[in-house]
């Protein structure tokens, strides 16, 4: 019988067998990495807004409290996006001619709302309530990152479910005393381990991972 395959087939077949394992493993790794990349999650990516609003200026430079604009955060599931009226409490007096603020004044004149884009938009099948998180000692920055340092606002974290669950499984690693919830840059002075468990007990935190807690 004549030779059917070239002698190099031996090498090729071995390379393809081991190569297939490496290829499948590599492809799985790429997919899992891609799923968590900011390309997919849009974490750390600045979202374009109708007005280039700077949290850094308003929070860090001027010291305005989060709740001045996000008024319902302590009572409602939604923290609230401020109406044009809130902007105009100051901007009817200062920077009244700044070109950057023209869309705000236009909104004020016409009564048409500014169309801010939500930076943290959870899917509709997720039930989330701000008020309970604030009440149990979850700081704004714990989920939203250092907003006071963002010239333009981005989403700090992926909002993947594994990120939610990380805290729901071990809230003691993240909670802070209620009085510091709205404070920027707060860190537990003696370390989180010193206060975590006692806060969980004191605030009666039962952060269940039952499916229907969030998927109602």
């Amino acid at each position: 019988m004549s030779q059917l395959f070239h002698p190099s087939t031996n090498v090729i077949s071995k390379v393809t067998i081991f190569g297939a394992v490496l290829f499948i493993g590599g492809a799985a790794w790429v997919l899992l990495a891609l799923e968590r990349s900011s390309y997919v999650t849009q974490a750390k990516v600045v979202r374009e807004q109708p007005v280039p609003f700077s949290h850094r200026h308003h929070v860090s430079d001027l010291g305005i409290d989060c709740r001045y604009c996000h008024t319902f955060v302590e009572e409602s599931n939604f923290a609230g996006i401020p109406p044009t009226k809130t902007c105009m409490t100051c901007h009817s007096q200062i920077h009244t001619t700044a070109a950057m603020l023209e869309p705000v004044r236009e909104s004020w004149r016409s009564g048409e709302s500014l169309e801010w884009l939500r930076v943290h938009d959870l899917p509709d099948f997720v039930y989330f309530d701000h008020s309970i998180h604030v009440k149990k000692g979850v700081g704004c920055e714990t989920c939203h990152g250092p907003v006071g340092e963002m010239a333009l606002t981005w989403r700090e974290y992926s909002l993947n479910m594994e990120w939610c669950i990380e805290c729901h499984r071990a809230p003691e690693k993240f909670v802070r005393p209620r009085e510091f919830v709205f404070q920027a840059g707060w860190h537990a002075p003696a370390g989180q381990a010193a206060i975590g468990d006692s806060l969980v007990a004191a605030y009666d935190i039962n952060s269940s991972t039952n499916c229907s807690i969030c998927h109602r």
Binding site: L4, N10, S13, N160
Partner: protein, 458 residues
């Protein structure tokens, strides 16, 4: 004196291969089906019908994906309908292949040689047809990879306490091991085909499939070791897979499901259904390809006897279900069994008993055992009976459970039947392709039978 007793034994037991065969004639006969003989007309007819059914499956699945599982008859209270019935039915059918290939090999039952190849192929195709149903039943088949544990962005594992997850592992392990076993056994035969075919392309394809097999002593030694190891691996699967499938039911608290007898009763039922299917396939196969020399009456009778034995175990299972329902003195259990006997699905139940308990009793009778037609008819009864059994288990338990206010009725829709018929089409299409392209009886193992027959004479 000793001579006559040997002769007597020889007369009582027909050989597993008709006399007069040599290594060459076996190889010629089996490989010619694939290589030289003209494809017979019945192959085209059979393949055509199977392919039409497969096309029906394609339509049914496409419409299911488009519209959702609302097109099926499932609804509360019967949320498990045809999909689970068909899944269990197909998985059960697969079991004969594994039993024949693994357990009969380890027990050195030579007669497995003629039937193991296509029984194993049947296992693979039955598992493929079975796997289809739970995957479609999830409602979003494109997310079925969620069934596997992998580091996902949801931070979740599947619920390891759920028997449905055990099912995923049991069935995928079963499919993998069955495939490896089948393929390992095929390697020397692929080499035979490679050496015999004259077509350049099929030479290359069989050449790649035979993985460089040259039939050296080292090859045979490694082959035997690997085959035995795989048989050892596959042996527990014969018992474990259908045990896990029975847990899908037995782990719940539904009357008629929550029973400790379920695992052994399901395993026996699986082997029962499997041997019925092997008979259903072997009888036409040997007839149309003239393989009566290799798949002898003795093979058919042996399979029929296993079918009878497992059928008796299954019958005992039915008896115990009724006994336990009475003995438990639990009113829901009692109601469940009375509802099976006399409720709206009583005709299905009594047909099931006729098919699964009465029909195989004819095997006791040697006239039936010696008639190919009778064996075929009995096997068909068992095929139907085993489907009815799963229908009864799934539907009668669910449709009237604890709360009379939530009782309901269930029946399959057109799409349920289309998917079921389509899965048979998938199974048969794969089988026809297999018969056409791969030797459906193991050539080299048949040759060892000849050698052994010769050895006995000396």
């Amino acid at each position: 004196m000793a001579d006559t007793s040997v002769k007597k034994r020889g007369a009582a037991k027909a050989p597993f291969i008709e006399p007069g065969h040599t290594f060459g004639s076996i190889t010629d006969k089996i490989s010619s089906i694939v290589l030289t003989r003209k494809t017979p007309i019945f192959w085209f007819v059979g393949f055509g019908i199977s392919f039409m059914l497969l096309s029906l499956l394609m339509v049914a699945v496409a419409y299911l994906v488009f519209e959702g599982i609302g097109i099926w008859g499932v609804n509360m209270p019967v949320a498990w309908g045809f999909a689970i019935i068909n899944f269990v039915w197909w998985i059960g059918i697969g079991h004969a292949g594994t039993l024949i290939s693994a357990i009969l090999l380890l027990l050195r039952q030579d007669w497995r040689t003629s039937i193991n190849r296509f029984a194993e192929a049947m296992t693979l195709f039955a598992v493929a047809a079975a796997g289809l149903f739970p995957l479609l039943h999830t409602g979003r088949p494109w997310l079925d990879y969620w069934l596997m544990p992998y580091p996902n962005t949801m931070g979740l594992w599947p619920n390891f306490r759920s028997p449905l997850v055990w099912d995923v592992f049991a069935v995928s392990t079963y499919a993998t091991v069955s495939f490896l076993f089948w393929y390992t056994g095929l390697v020397p035969d692929f080499a035979t085909l490679r050496d015999r075919t004259v077509n350049r392309w099929s030479k290359r394809v069989y050449g790649i499939l035979s993985m460089g097999w040259r039939g050296s002593a080292v090859h045979w030694h490694r082959y035997e070791t690997a085959y035995l190891l795989l048989a050892g691996l596959a042996t527990p699967l014969v018992v474990s897979v259908h045990t896990v499938v029975s847990f899908d039911f037995a782990m719940s608290i539904v009357p008629g499901w929550h029973a400790t007898i379920f695992p052994p009763y399901f395993v026996a039922g699986a082997i029962y259904a499997g041997f019925a299917m092997v008979l259903t396939l072997a009888i036409p196969l040997r007839k149309f390809y003239g393989l009566e020399d290799f798949i002898t009456m003795r093979h058919l009778q042996n399979m029929a006897k296993i079918m009878l034995a497992t059928g008796l175990i299954v019958g005992y299972g039915y008896m115990m279900e009724a006994f336990t329902a009475w003995y438990s003195a639990a009113e829901y259990e009692e109601f469940m069994i009375l509802n099976r006997f006399t409720g709206p699905y009583k005709y299905a139940f009594w047909s099931l008993l006729a098919c699964n308990v009465i029909a195989p009793q004819f095997v006791w009778w040697s006239k039936a055992r010696n008639s190919v037609v009778a064996l075929f008819v009995i096997a068909m009864f068992v095929n139907v009976g085993m489907w009815l059994e799963r229908f009864i288990i799934v539907v009668t338990s669910l449709h009237r459970d604890f709360l009379p206010s939530s009782w309901g009725m269930y029946s399959g829709t057109f799409w349920d039947w289309a998917t079921y018929a389509g899965s048979i089409g998938l199974f048969l299409t794969l089988l026809f392709v297999f018969i056409r392209l791969i030797p459906s009886v193991s050539i080299f193992e048949m040759r060892t039978l000849v050698a052994e027959e010769k050895g006995k004479k000396h």
